[in-house]
């Protein structure tokens, strides 16, 4: 169930992970896993189509850097991405509050 929810919110999570600073794909996977205490442990390859889509839509930018052993693609949040993240966060907060109030009421 966590995996399904994760897929539905992957764009938002990736933007949030990038808000902490530029990172390459694997570092983002690690951030998601670490910050969720291992709950959000997704199939790692699935982050790349999402990253490429976000890049295509202009929410993130990328650059190639020379890593220790090979070229490395590093992603960063763009201005549009920051605005999108802020909007998505506000929407998520409203959604969470609404669901929380319902679940809390039935508990």
């Amino acid at each position: 169930m966590a995996t399904d929810r994760l897929k539905g919110n992957l764009d938002l999570l990736l933007l949030a992970a990038l808000a902490a600073g530029p990172a390459h794909g694997y570092a983002l996977v690690r951030r998601l896993r670490d910050r969720s205490d291992g709950v959000l442990d997704l199939q790692e390859g699935t982050v790349y189509p999402a990253l490429h889509r976000l890049e295509h839509e202009g929410f993130i930018t990328s650059s190639w850097t020379e890593g220790e052993r090979r070229p490395r693609k590093v992603y960063a949040l763009s201005g549009a991405g920051q605005r999108k993240l802020a909007g998505e966060r506000a929407e998520w907060d409203r959604f969470r509050a609404a669901v929380g109030s319902i679940l809390g009421g039935t508990a």
Partner: protein, 245 residues
């Protein structure tokens, strides 16, 4: 013993559709991810073989990931592949037809048959608009090099079919290299373009009053274009495969 990461990247590459450059960038990025994962698992105490196997499992099946990572949507890739196969068949049929027409005359002479090529007097109209012609009572008599009947028409048209078939295959080869995923790294497309240049030039060869020349309007630029493409493909080095760490 083959590197499992390389084997995985090879398989992923087979399922990626898009330009060679886009596919290469994806493969470099995926390899970086997998090597980083292997390094992390190794630091956690896994041996090399287990680390590589786990990294691949965690990344996802090559077929699925290739589909999701492809710069070119799969439906487009399938449509292009079908069009490619149809074009390939058409090109080959034209070549076979051209060869059979060209072979008809010498085979006929070889075996002493009586080839009646009058049936091959197709509605050919070769007009010489840009070349000198005999003037008769003020009227330009347009002379046709291609005979309206006779066995030589088979050779001429056979060469034409051959050239068109070869050009079809060359265009398909070019499209395949650019859109589909055939990173052969070989020089055969260059050789085909060179062959096309020669065929087109031969097709454009004309005789006029005993002199042989190349009819210029279409054939010279087309032949030159194929020749330039062939040279560019020879000079330009093919993209290197993803290098190991």
């Amino acid at each position: 013993m083959s590197d499992p990461i390389h084997s995985y990247l090879d398989e992923l590459s087979r399922h990626l559709h898009g330009s060679r450059e886009a596919r290469r960038r994806i493969l470099v990025e995926v390899e970086d991810h997998l090597r980083e994962k292997v390094r992390e698992l190794g630091a956690a105490g896994y041996n090399d073989a287990d680390s590589e196997a786990l990294a691949i499992v965690h990344f996802g099946p090559a077929r699925q990931m290739g589909r999701e990572l492809s710069p070119l949507p799969e439906c487009w890739a399938v449509a292009i592949a079908r069009a490619f196969r149809a074009g390939l068949l058409a090109g080959l049929l034209l070549i076979v037809l051209g060869l059979s027409m060209m072979a008809a005359v010498p085979l006929d002479r070889l075996f002493g048959g009586t080839l009646d090529a009058s049936a091959a007097s197709m509605p050919i109209v070769v007009e010489w608009r840009n070349h000198p012609c005999a003037l008769t009572a003020g009227t330009c008599v347009v002379r046709s090099w291609v005979p309206q009947s006779g066995t030589s028409v088979l050779i001429v048209f056979g060469a034409g079919y051959l050239a068109v078939g070869a050009m079809t295959l060359l265009v398909l080869a070019f499209v395949q290299r650019r859109l589909l995923q055939v990173s052969t790294g070989h020089r055969w497309p260059a050789a085909l373009f060179g062959l096309a240049a020669m065929l087109v030039a031969l097709w454009g060869l004309r005789t006029w009053d005993g002199e042989v020349f190349l009819a210029g309007a279409v054939w010279v630029p087309m032949s030159a274009l194929f020749l330039v493409v062939a040279l560019v493909m020879v000079v330009r080095r093919p993209a290197r495969p993803v290098s190991p760490a």
